[in-house]
Assembly symmetry: D2
Homo-oligomer: 351 residues x 4
């Protein structure tokens, strides 16, 4: 059994991980840590877990939180993981972090990222940072296997990178003029109530936001640049639509000379052919976020518009699964040499 200490257990990212752990034959939750609802059972906070996970939430500094574990999963905002990881490593555990703390192994890049989100540019654990791995299995499976610290990607980043990676590596599109048009469900904003996500305010509202720059764009560009072996920049438009779960990202670029829809589709099929959790579709398939809801699957659809010379692809994921807890569990499976699909090999429920 892999013993997990879960920090931030009471948020959507934590609860999502607990739900998957309940299905996982080799994961055991050792401790649930949070700063809210301390002392309450997780199943009192989230009653659907009653009988499945009745552990109490403990404070970060409580003795119970110090339980030994094989891996510490930080389902927490920026800043927590970088403080926690060194202790985890010192105690012999691995660490999977949901935030931006370990998405850039280069301290210079991290500093730039931190600056953009209004944090101090110095990472709290630069040495740990340098050994961390970007936790998108479809790109870094080998490195994740041997990693001690994994930076779980942002949900928008998962969706955009999966939609663009084959095209960028196989040069289906020009390096200039890439745009990512992303539509997310509201759960992406977390469990904290906010005016814009109050039901009556959001039920009939499609909105673009953070037009001056979203924190996920930097990891998208970084990963695509690695694939391109060149500097890739993307215009990124985050938008929220009235649903709870799901991201539909539509990506655009200029078709490379001689590139066609048929060849682009082939490149995608080839790139993802061994991937358990990526389904590649052509332009005629009917796809929707409902088809991946509650599951770790990503649908990537290639639908170029040759008439206008436009490269175009869509990706559909569940922001809370492949975009967060599911991808984290996939990383855990890789870290501990388990079948990558453990805890994840179920269809979602429809409708």
């Amino acid at each position: 059994m892999v013993r997990v200490k879960l920090i931030g257990a009471g948020g959507y990212g934590g609860v999502g991980f607990v739900e998957l752990a309940c299905r996982h034959p080799q994961v055991e939750l050792a401790a649930l840590v949070d700063v809210q609802d301390v002392g309450r059972k997780l199943s009192d906070v989230w009653p659907h877990l009653a009988g499945f996970c009745d552990l109490p939430l403990v404070a970060p500094d409580s003795p119970q939180a110090a339980d030994d574990a094989d891996v510490v999963v930080c389902a927490t905002p920026d800043g927590v993981g970088q403080a926690v990881a060194p202790q985890a490593l010192a105690a012999g555990a691995r660490c999977i972090d949901y935030s931006g703390d370990f998405r850039f192994a280069d301290p210079g890049l991290y500093a730039e990222y931190a600056r953009r989100i209004g944090r101090a540019p110095e990472h709290a654990s630069p040495q740990v940072l340098e050994q961390s791995v970007y936790g998108l299995p479809e790109l870094h499976r080998g490195a994740i296997r041997g990693a001690h610290v994994v930076g779980n990607p942002g949900c928008f980043a998962v969706s955009c990178i999966l939609a663009l990676a084959p095209a960028v590596r196989e040069r289906c599109l020009l390096r200039e003029g890439i745009a990512c048009d992303c539509k997310t469900g509201i759960s992406g904003a977390g469990k904290k109530p906010r005016p814009g996500f109050h039901y009556p305010e959001s039920y009939e509202a499609a909105r673009a936001y953070k037009l001056a720059g979203h924190q996920h764009v930097m990891e998208i560009e970084h990963e695509l640049s690695l694939l391109a072996e060149d500097n890739v920049r993307v215009a990124f438009t985050p938008q929220v639509v009235p649903m709870a779960r799901g991201i539909l990202s539509t990506v655009y670029g200029r078709l490379a000379e001689g590139m066609s829809q048929a060849r682009a589709l082939e490149a995608y099929q080839s790139f993802y052919q061994d991937e358990r959790f990526v389904r590649v579709l052509g332009p005629d398939a009917a796809a929707g976020t409902d088809q991946v809801r509650g599951s770790n699957f990503a649908i990537v659809q290639v639908a170029c518009d040759e008439r206008t010379g436009t490269f175009r692809a869509m990706s559909y994921i569940d922001n809370l699964v492949k975009g967060q807890a599911g991808n984290a569990m996939q990383n855990l499976n890789i870290l501990f040499d388990l079948d990558e699909a453990l805890g994840l090999d179920q269809p979602g429920a429809h409708p």
Copy 2:
């Protein structure tokens, strides 16, 4: 009083027109025509109209349908308007048509459009067609004023053209590489139940569709080409998200040499400065389809990404108002030299 014969009165486009007519001090509904629910009162089909519009729906060939009217509004699918318009004109009435029948005054263009949507290329009334005017007041107000037949634009077309017109005319962006990423509420598909719009199928589904080509793209390109005095092509992605009303279109292009966000915004403000129903916003404003819901207003937001050389703008409309019935009423007001805002000068209801 302007007497209106409304054909297709029982669909969303018809009902929307009736709702506005109830608020309009100078419009009188003379006859409601439909092929469904014939003989029933409109308010029996749509009970919210009880006491406001209790006229019966009559068949197209009934004597009541032949009532004289000052204008015939065809809230009908392709094919109906071109059959009806000549009779309307012969009887001295004007005609406003919601379909693609009168969106291209050039029979050659119409033939191409008809071919794309699987109809016979010959227009039933080519002479009427040649005198028709594309009914987007923000572009063709003068021509509409003197027109006999107005082709009301498609809802996606309204949203994309409003988002791009100033940029295209003022050359804020390059002619190549324009993409329109459109998200519509489900009412855009009309009142007819279909599997994909059954509540349990659609409530958590964001989907792209018609990726091989949507019928609205041709009018978008035609209007933008007129503005550019050049051939403009756009990649167009229709998408549906789980809401009833609203379209958010995000348009992308390459910023022209020397163009900036500030200058682009200025161009938009100048272009729309006298427009009653267009609000221009900069990148920092919070906008959403909820802000135009139930009203004839369009919000156009300019938010270029200078870092990546990307021109970007969003438009927000209510697909059933500015995207359909409201725009038709605006056309009616122009046709009859009324205050353009009659019947339309109300805020929507929030939330």
Copy 3:
């Protein structure tokens, strides 16, 4: 023109009143008062009002808030109206209050009400209280006409009283064993974000709440007791369902000896025959909250179950219109001897 000072202008109850005022030919907004967003234009807080109501929100103690007005509308929680009303009256104005402050003209009843909601039992203005009138036009039109202070009913109370009043007065049901099963949309909770109304928490959640007692039950019982000339008690179950607007209340009781569905329906038709805003339906009609959405209409449907001796009726209202701002506007029209339907004589928008 009737000049209105609106207190609590930035909440849903205030905004709803402003929307109606925009349609009302004889109402003028003199001052908008609130404790939040002071100094901002109302249309900056609620952009759908841009161009329709661009007045600033002023603090209660600002000089602008002291503008003379013909009527002060308090769209505010308990406690504000009772402090404000005496000043309004002293300045020669009338007062319409949305809260429970003026729903019980008897100080003893008020004390009991106050106790239940955890407030001090002494009313701040007992003399004003004693002259106040319960503002449900269908029951108290005559008294409202001459009133100085009107206590606008609670939204659940409107729905239950309209559903039960004819039955209670005409003794269609036994006095014992009445139950009100109420389902409200989420806007009934106001604009303040709360965990339970965060979109992802509420979009698939039907919930009963406040099972120990809801503050609206007392006014329901008080009004029904007046009609019955006897002591009437009702079991009351507030429930919230995932929609923004609307209340569906289903009321149950034991059919009185000799009472039938046919006679009960007749009693309702007779009771409401002159009411502009109440539509009475029989059991076979298809009704829904969507049919009254955005309008001041109430649908009351009588559908007794003779097989089990059960009296049953449903009422459908828009909680923000007939349940709040619309009913307040109706009261205003009565207070100032205007056509009762001014500002309210429009259908809602469908869908």
Copy 4:
């Protein structure tokens, strides 16, 4: 392994069963039968099942449909099961039927039921009928264990019976004056698109329907009468609210002499103390359909109103799980002496 032939595999009831079968270690799908989409893979019709259930849908008369199976599950409308069951039994299989075909072992009762739903009163297989068992494990576990044919209950019936059974058996309420006020999500109507469930028609609509009588009331009364050893009648109000999944039923009655909230709650706790899938709550708990979404659990909340002498309880279920496929799987587990929770021992996903 228990081999299952699933008839009606492409509907919501069938798909729900398939989803559970994917999680069940001892269930194997032998054949999927349907009359629609014959020849397509189930995962082409419902893409979320891709890789999990790629069997084809076969016609009822195809040779593949004749595969031997240990149990035939009829996820079909009235009439199919009674035709199919005798053949299944003859082939040595058991049968679980979702419809009303086997909910009344008494042919006279069946005839009455059939009459109410407009079918011929003669059952096609009266001998099989007489041996069938009503498949609500909480009431008939013992009989189900030995049964050959199980009539899976209606979704409303599950919710009402669970809410009332302890009260009726323990005489917490009077036999007269029971009312069931039920609110269902839209998936209860199945996958077939209909005007009232078209997204734009239903997203803001709470509606009562079938007020003259719903087919589920008869089984509710039958089961309660068995528990009461007396004739029990209930008034039943089906209502639909804008959500996909879930039923909240609120039941009312008159508190029996000497009965209190405390004693009633105790009766419920005792009645359900050994039930894996029923959670009993008191009046102060916060419950909602979201807490049982995607799971086989039922929440039953006892919240009497002593002030008015009203017995009151709520039940919350997922109509597609405990109200249909989950309960069917629970029955299957009992039929084959498996752990009753196999395939069902997972929490739903939140949010």
